[in-house]
């Protein structure tokens, strides 16, 4: 059986190393751990893999309170108790009160599924360890019904992390790993081209210029990333801003137009204004 290879989509530009990591993970049916700056398209990746390989996608978003058990199943004891009060016949089958988690749904899928475990680092520090066996063997045991759930087809598991917590070694050993780097200007031009093909060339050049300049300002709390750039371009297009307006060395304007899409923090806006002010003073003095 030859697998279709992942080569990016018309909406998603994948670099060579990313394609290799995805294809390795797909071929060997092991989880792929994706890290990178926020906004570089980690979550997007799973959606695009599912789309390009034509597979159903199951998303499991992790919060600080999520437990590994939530992904497998939950036993709704309260409903059962209530039904027993009402004398419902359903109550005799405990299976009626087992609620499937995302992992179970992905395991039960007829076709091979893509399972996204989003932002695994948000959970408790022991969370990844609790999933080791489930992800390794792709099976788990339901104690209430004494049933062993096994994956029909091993799903493609994509795990994203923002590096807020270090993940345990035993967990890392079982994954492939990819770090999405912040794209270089050439790749960025391709990414923008994919999203806004009708963007005027000069506008794009000026916008990218302003954008990378902004990223280089030292000490920004949250550097603008790819998703912010795309939002900003959308706004620029909607407002029909001329390319000339984007030159930040224009002494009359302190900030690029619609900067709110790029800088998300009032301290950063303030810092950027100060840097610009200093630059202008330097350029004015002989």
């Amino acid at each position: 059986m030859t697998q279709k290879k992942f080569e990016g989509t018309e909406r998603y530009v994948a670099t060579d190393d990313l394609m290799m990591a995805v294809n390795a993970a797909v071929t060997l049916a092991r989880p792929l751990l994706v890290k990178g700056e926020p906004g570089t398209g980690k979550t997007q990746l799973a959606e695009e893999i599912a789309r390009s390989l034509d597979k159903p996608l199951y998303r499991w978003h992790i919060k600080s309170t999520t437990k590994a058990q939530h992904g497998l199943y939950e036993y709704d004891a309260v409903s059962r108790l209530r039904d027993s009060q009402l004398g419902d016949a359903k109550v005799h089958d405990i299976g009626n009160y087992i609620i499937r988690g995302r992992l179970w749904e992905a395991f039960a899928s007829e076709r091979q599924a893509v399972l996204l475990i989003d932002e695994i680092d948000k959970a408790d520090i022991e969370f990844p360890n609790d999933l080791l066996l489930e992800l390794d063997r792709m099976e788990f045991y339901v104690h209430e019904t004494r049933e062993l759930v096994q994956a029909r087809v091993r799903p493609i598991v994509i795990i994203t992390s923002n590096n807020e917590k270090e993940l345990p070694d035993a967990f890392l050993r079982r994954c492939f790993f990819h770090f999405i780097r912040f794209p270089e200007p050439e790749t960025m031009t391709r990414i923008v081209g994919v999203h806004y093909p009708e963007l005027k060339r000069e506008l794009l050049a000026e916008a990218l210029n302003a954008f990378y300049k902004l990223r280089e300002v030292p000490g920004l709390k949250k550097k603008p990333s790819t998703s912010e750039l795309l939002d900003w371009l959308k706004l620029l297009l909607a407002e029909d801003i001329p390319p000339e307006a984007l030159r930040t060395d224009d002494p009359r304007k302190a900030l690029p137009p619609l900067y709110g899409a790029l800088l998300k923090n009032e301290q950063d806006v303030h810092l950027f204004e100060q840097v610009l002010f200093l630059q202008r003073r330097q350029s004015r003095s002989p």
């Binding site: 290799m20 993970a25 060997l28 108790l81 009060q85 520090i125 890392l172 050993r173 790993f177």
Partner: protein
């Protein structure tokens, strides 16, 4: 040779395990990577490196190990342009080396063998063996002559100017933190003591069942407060001077402790505790907290952790006015005793290695004052310290 690559990686400080090595071999067998060294590089990196801070180490090890070999990959795809090679080689060799080549049967003979060997490798690869490995068994090892020396490939025919792993794009992601915060966190975790406090907002199944049964089967819902870590910690950190050498391990401990304990208060001191400590190093002279205030403010169920090397002149502990920074009316020993009396559960973590403690008089004095509750700042020492804090 891939086995040797595995060990090269480990020597370079990339934490690779046998599992990952086997995964790589499995992936090679499944033909995930095609016949290009770049693909192999990407595959090996995705398989064996699990943290972007190790990317740079991996790149260096990869470059070291596969130096010269990547041309063999290219040669597998294209026939070897012999004339061009010879020209290149002639430029590269000294007269002495050329003489040696002659002794081995002349240049042509060697070229022939080399071409044969390359062909053989191609055949073997298609047979499914670990084709990268055969480069090492080249017959050209003796006589000061090897593929690395001739530099097959190089400029010309190849498509890329700079190899990916020679760009070293991940250089500034590398840090040499050996003892991660994770280990410290896990050690601190042993200090947890859960208690239910605050608003009752969690469903209590056992309580509900019990109450319902007592209620003759009519449902009676019960709620309990969520469990919280009830441990409260006061952290005193020595900064500056002799502590500069230990600043990293202190930072790690601090950041781990901060995320583990809800009730954590920290203060800084220099060398030893006197009548006041401070919270902000930049404003340490303007904003100081009197120690009496701490003694009054925090209830005695707080656990106290001192972190410091306790290495100083003994006068700084036992004499009034012994402090090197200011005039202290009362000796440091008095202040430490006030703290330890108020907070019965206390430990001192010392980043100095335990076996060197006996050589410093001030450490001995501090240990006496603390009733031997001083522990080295290693994971094992931290464990012992936590045990002492629990009791």
């Amino acid at each position: 040779m891939l086995t040797r690559f595995f060990y090269t990686l480990r020597e370079a400080g990339v934490p690779v395990s046998v599992t990952e090595y086997l995964t790589l071999l499995e992936a090679l067998e499944a033909r995930v990577a095609s016949l290009s060294v770049e693909d192999f590089y990407f595959l090996a990196r995705a398989t064996m490196v699990k943290d972007e801070k190790h990317f740079d180490r991996f790149d260096r090890a990869f470059a070291k190990h596969f130096k010269g070999i990547e041309q063999v990959f290219a040669a597998l795809e294209a026939e070897l342009p012999a004339d061009w090679l010879r020209k290149l080689a002639e430029r590269h060799f000294t007269e002495e080396e050329k003489a040696q080549i002659e002794a081995l049967g002349g240049w042509d003979k060697l070229m022939e063998t080399l071409a044969e060997r390359l062909k053989e490798q191609k055949g073997r690869h298609q047979g499914g063996n670990k084709w990268v490995g055969t480069g090492g068994t080249s017959p050209f090892g003796h006589g000061g002559f090897n593929p690395e020396g001739i530099r097959i490939g190089g400029p010309g025919g190849q498509k890329r100017a700079v190899k990916v792993w020679e760009k070293r794009e991940y250089r500034n992601l590398d840090d040499t933190l050996e003892l991660g915060t994770r280990n410290i966190k896990l050690a601190l975790r042993k200090l947890r003591r859960f208690a239910r406090e605050g608003a009752a907002d969690q469903f209590d199944i056992d309580g509900t069942i019990d109450a319902t049964a007592r209620n003759a089967g009519l449902l009676d819902l019960k709620f309990v407060p969520e469990r919280h870590n009830a441990i409260k910690v006061l952290l005193f950190l020595d900064v500056g001077g002799s502590m500069d050498a230990h600043v990293r391990v202190c930072e790690e401990l601090f950041s781990a402790a901060r995320s583990e304990f809800k009730h954590l208060e920290y203060f800084y001191f220099h060398n030893f505790v006197y009548e006041s400590v401070w919270k902000n190093s930049w404003r340490r002279h303007a904003e100081r907290t009197p120690l009496f205030e701490i003694l009054r403010t925090y209830p005695p169920d707080y656990r106290v952790i001192f972190v410091g090397d306790a290495s100083m002149s003994p006068y700084e502990i036992v004499q009034p006015g012994g402090s090197i920074e200011h005039w202290n009316e009362e000796a440091g020993a008095v202040w430490l005793q006030r703290l330890t009396q108020r907070f019965q559960r206390h430990v001192w973590l010392n980043p100095e290695p335990e076996e060197r403690w006996d050589y410093t008089a001030s450490i001995g004095i501090a240990r006496q004052l603390l009733g031997e509750r001083m522990f080295p700042m290693t994971l094992e020492g931290l464990d012992r310290g936590i045990q002492a804090l629990k009791s």
